[in-house]
């Protein structure tokens, strides 16, 4: 786990803290069964069980992630589709350059700029995402808008790029030509023949992007003082609170697995080539 570059002292501390005097498999089985039954051990830092912290953090993070997803999926697909329909023209170039640029700017950079503009100068949004205890849905949403924008920017480029590539492939496909030569109208061709085939690959990409989204959560939650899974892991790491850290990382791994599975199922549901197997 520590690799060849491990500082001997760190190894020692870690061994002691994790109680590695027992056989590895026993420890793992122990911990795993605990994790599955909701007993994730005691936090070193808080001297209390890990599970409640994890629960709250996951709930908060999902709220933030949900806002980001709900904004970015339609936006990204729309951007990609528009870029493909105006392929090679200025609209396409602008969307592409904006897309790839947005995707590589770290969340904390875009977050800082957004806070400066909309939090400090314009004062449209709060610069901290923490709401008061009795805040309702709309108030929570209001607090989550600004933090979700950097995540949206990161994902927009990916989704738009995939959607554009899928659209262009479908637009150039022979079956689209067949549809046009039948005499269908342009909207009929796009809706019936192009979109469905074009967006299939995008769906699987969206799921794998959850992993980047979670990576981004760490930074965003720190920047906006928001208590989610990212800041939980960050604080646990800073305080060397290993049970907490372990539980947080495990939860992320599980989330990723679930998201991938859901995407595969959805993809199979939409793709007749998988649904109905091979040639008869």
């Amino acid at each position: 786990m520590l690799g060849p570059f491990a500082d001997p002292k760190a190894v020692e501390t870690l061994n002691h803290q994790m109680g590695t005097d027992r056989p590895v498999l026993v420890q793992y089985a122990d911990w795993m069964s605990g994790f599955l039954t909701g007993d994730m051990g005691q936090s070193y830092a808080y001297r209390s069980p890990v599970a409640p912290f994890l629960g709250t953090a996951l709930l908060n993070s999902s709220k933030l992630a949900a806002v980001a997803f709900i904004l970015v999926v339609p936006l990204g697909i729309f951007g990609g589709v528009i870029a493909a329909l105006y392929r090679g023209r200025p609209t396409d170039r602008i969307l592409s350059v904006v897309g790839i640029s947005a995707t590589v700017v770290p969340e904390f950079v875009s977050g800082i700029v957004l806070i400066l503009i909309f939090g400090v100068w314009l004062r449209w949004f709060p610069i901290s995402a923490t709401w008061s205890a009795n805040a309702g849905f709309w108030n929570q949403l209001y607090h989550l808008i600004l933090p979700s924008v950097p995540l949206v920017l990161i994902l927009f480029g990916y989704i738009a790029r995939m959607a554009r590539a899928g659209m262009i492939e479908a637009l150039d496909a022979d079956y689209t030509r067949t549809a046009v030569l039948k005499g269908l109208t342009y909207p009929q061709v796009i809706w019936r023949h192009v979109l469905r085939n074009a967006l299939l690959p995008t769906i699987s990409v969206i799921a794998t992007q959850t992993v980047y989204l979670i990576g981004g959560l760490v930074v965003i939650e720190i920047l906006f003082h928001y208590q989610g899974i990212g800041s939980l892991i960050y604080i646990a790491a800073k305080k060397k609170d290993f049970p907490m850290l372990q539980a947080g990382v495990m939860a992320i791994g599980a989330l990723f697995a679930v998201a991938t599975l859901l995407a595969d199922l959805l993809y199979a549901r939409l793709n007749p080539r998988i649904r109905f197997g091979g040639r008869e």
Partner: protein, 681 residues
């Protein structure tokens, strides 16, 4: 009555990297209602551009530079969008190559066909019956079932039937067919061509038929136009153009074809020297002059007009001289292959399967034959018959199943190249189908040859250089080509490099896997000549894999016919072609269209090729055999019948009931198409 399609002085250009490249120059043609017009030419001559221009669907960078296109008397470029849609709904349809791609993969085919009726305003309730009707019309036996299928669940032939059904459902004035059978197997191609002819009689639709295949055009069309480098160079009635061509290019194309009766023992094939000019090239004089045997000063300075005389037209200064063109190349006497001599390769019980359990694909089963020194064994069969797998097993690129035996020079051959001795590896080499795949695009010609010579012959330094130079000359290339990378060479030159590499190690057996199927006819002839010459001078045995029976017939001494991983028939080439032969061989032979036409008593195959994961019991061919005997063929494996000499086939039919081919090769070995013509008489 107006013509179905008219091109008036049509010019089309593409914009490539900011420059405009003309691809069609002043094409003039008319297709009358109900007429089938064939447009033929080699790759890059502008055939498909003409087809897509006709339906106003040029690629994004394509542009009609001059002239008009009229369908049903309407100038299609004057039509507003709704009228253009109307035209496409009712007057013109198109079917193209690769039916698997032309259907939407995520909609059931019934839904896709029903869109035609939806556009025609048929009430929704009637769609299913109308779709079933039209599918039945294209001879789909179970329309109700097929309607619910997705394209990927249908075979290539079925997919193309569905595409044709969509195209003819609105009973259009004009049907544009762009290479509709290219890429399909011979037997499937024959079925689709039958279907198109049948529909023509029923529907009286005019057809623009685009193909690179002269024989297909000859079979399907009333009139033919020959395209060369974007110009229409000749036009005439089908029977006339193939008998008495009036343009040197047409004559050249016809002479290049390895047809019935031509064989390597008798004469080399004629070739057309030189290259097609690149797109957008500036040319003074006749565009064909640089490659034309008749060209003189006039041809090089003045572009001939496209002159009509009666129902014929040609773009040549000297049409009357075409008839005198030398058709057979002065053939150097080729040493006949060493018939009946030493057996260099012996294969028995060869089997190869992939995967396990229920998914186990048995691609080769019980394959056994011998190859003699210096002979060519032709291997024919549809795709999926295991030809290429067999080749890879012989080469040691695939390990055969245990129990298989391959012997080279009476020594058993190991299953992999690594386990074979250097001498064994260097003795069995291959020329692959596609030179683009076979030549490493990062390596120069010199590097490819020198590596092979170094590793397999062990030559170094000056000796190696000398050998490289000798090789490059043997395949008619020059030292200049040694530094070239594959992308700097044309397709024919690349295949020469591949042949040079295959001969670099002085092999005794050379496998030629579809050596010319990626090439145009005129280039094909030169490559076949080269292979024949090299065999004669170097005494190599060939195993020739090809789907083109003309090619197989030209080069082969013996022929093996494969079906579903088994050899159904093997024997001397003439005996296999003339019969008596296996019912499958009969079907294969009769499915190939030929320029001299005729051949109406086709042996038709029914059903699709069974899966190799689920082979039929008894005779593997019984599911599609027109002469299947229930209770026998579907129960017991057929016996091996020895007809005479070494002509063996596996069939339950008694030898005297096996069919023969009526058409006998002409004794003098010349093509019948030209020999019959009055001009030559």
């Amino acid at each position: 009555m107006t013509d179905a399609l008219t091109f008036e002085n049509l010019g089309v250009a593409y914009r490539v990297k900011g420059r405009s490249q003309q691809v069609l120059y002043g094409i003039d043609l008319q297709i009358a209602r109900g007429e089938a017009y064939g447009l033929v030419g080699e790759s890059g001559c502008g055939k498909s551009t003409a087809a897509f221009a006709a339906v106003r669907y040029l690629p994004r960078n394509g542009l009609v530079t001059n002239g008009r296109i009229l369908i049903d008397g309407q100038d299609i470029h004057q039509l507003a969008a709704p009228d253009l849609r109307k035209l496409r709904q009712y007057s013109v349809s198109m079917v193209y190559q690769d039916p698997g791609r032309s259907l939407n993969p995520s909609l059931p085919v019934g839904r896709q066909v029903s869109e035609v009726f939806e556009l025609a305003g048929v009430p929704r309730a009637e769609w299913p019956t109308r779709v079933a009707e039209i599918l039945a019309k294209v001879q789909i036996s179970d329309p109700a079932l097929v309607m619910q299928r997705y394209p990927h669940q249908l075979s290539g032939g079925m997919q193309q039937r569905v595409a044709i059904a969509m195209a003819v459902a609105s009973n259009p004035t004009l049907l544009v067919l762009d290479e509709p059978t290219t890429g399909l197997d011979a037997t499937v191609e024959a079925e689709v061509l039958d279907l198109i002819q049948h529909l023509r009689r029923e529907l009286s639709t005019a057809i623009l038929f685009i193909s690179h295949n002269l024989a297909v055009i000859a079979r399907m069309c009333d009139r033919v136009g020959v395209l060369y480098a974007g110009r229409l160079v000749e036009e005439a009635r089908t029977d006339e153009i193939f008998r008495t061509p009036r343009h040197p290019y047409t004559a050249g194309l016809l002479n290049c074809l390895p047809q019935a009766g031509r064989s390597k023992d008798k004469a080399l094939l004629a070739t057309i020297p030189g290259f097609l000019p690149g797109p957008g090239a500036q040319i003074t004089g006749c565009v064909f002059a640089p490659r034309c045997a008749l060209a003189d000063c006039l041809c090089q300075t003045r572009d001939p007009a496209f002159v009509r005389a009666g129902d014929r037209a040609t773009k040549c200064h000297y049409p009357e001289r075409v008839a005198d063109m030398n058709r057979a190349v002065a053939a150097p006497v080729l040493v006949a292959a060493g018939q009946g001599s030493r057996r260099i390769l012996q294969i028995s019980d060869l089997a190869k399967s992939f995967g396990n359990g229920l998914q186990r694909q048995r691609v080769l089963r019980d394959v056994g034959f011998d190859l003699r020194a210096g002979e060519t064994l032709g291997l024919v069969g549809e795709s999926g018959s295991g030809k290429t797998t067999l080749a890879r097993c012989i080469l040691g690129l695939l390990q055969p199943d245990p129990g298989s035996r391959i012997q080279f020079d009476d020594q058993p051959l190991a299953g992999t190249t690594a386990a074979r001795s250097r001498d064994q590896v260097k003795s069995i080499q291959i020329v692959f189908q596609n030179p683009d795949s076979a030549l490493n695009r990062a390596h120069s010609v010199h590097r490819m040859l020198s590596r092979t010579i170094g590793l397999l012959i062990g030559l170094r330094g000056a000796a190696r250089e000398a050998r490289i130079r000798a090789l490059i000359r043997a395949v008619r290339l020059t030292d200049r080509h040694l530094t070239a990378l594959p992308r700097q060479l044309s397709g024919g030159l690349k295949q020469r490099v591949a042949i040079a590499r295959a001969f670099a190690s002085d092999p005794q057996i050379l496998i030629c896997d579809e050596p010319t199927s990626a090439l145009d006819v005129s280039v094909q002839a030169a490559i076949l000549n080269l292979l024949a010459e090299l065999q004669a001078t170097k005494q190599v045995s060939y195993i020739l894999i090809s789907h083109d029976l003309g090619v197989v017939r030209y080069l082969s001494d013996r022929i093996a016919v494969m079906y579903l991983g088994q050899v159904l028939e093997i024997g001397p080439a003439e005996a296999v072609f003339s019969g008596p032969h296996h019912p499958y061989t009969a079907a294969l032979l009769s499915s190939v269209p030929s320029i001299d036409g005729g051949n109406n008593d086709r042996v038709r195959l029914t059903g699709a090729l069974p899966s190799t994961a689920n082979l039929p019991n008894g005779c593997v061919f019984h599911t599609r055999c027109p002469r299947m005997m229930p209770g026998l063929c579907d129960q017991t494996a057929p016996p091996q019948i020895t007809l005479h000499a070494d002509h063996v086939l596996a069939c339950h039919l008694p030898p005297d009931q096996l069919s023969t081919t009526a058409r006998q090769p002409l004794p003098d070995g010349t093509g019948p198409n030209l020999a019959d013509s009055p001009v030559y008489g």
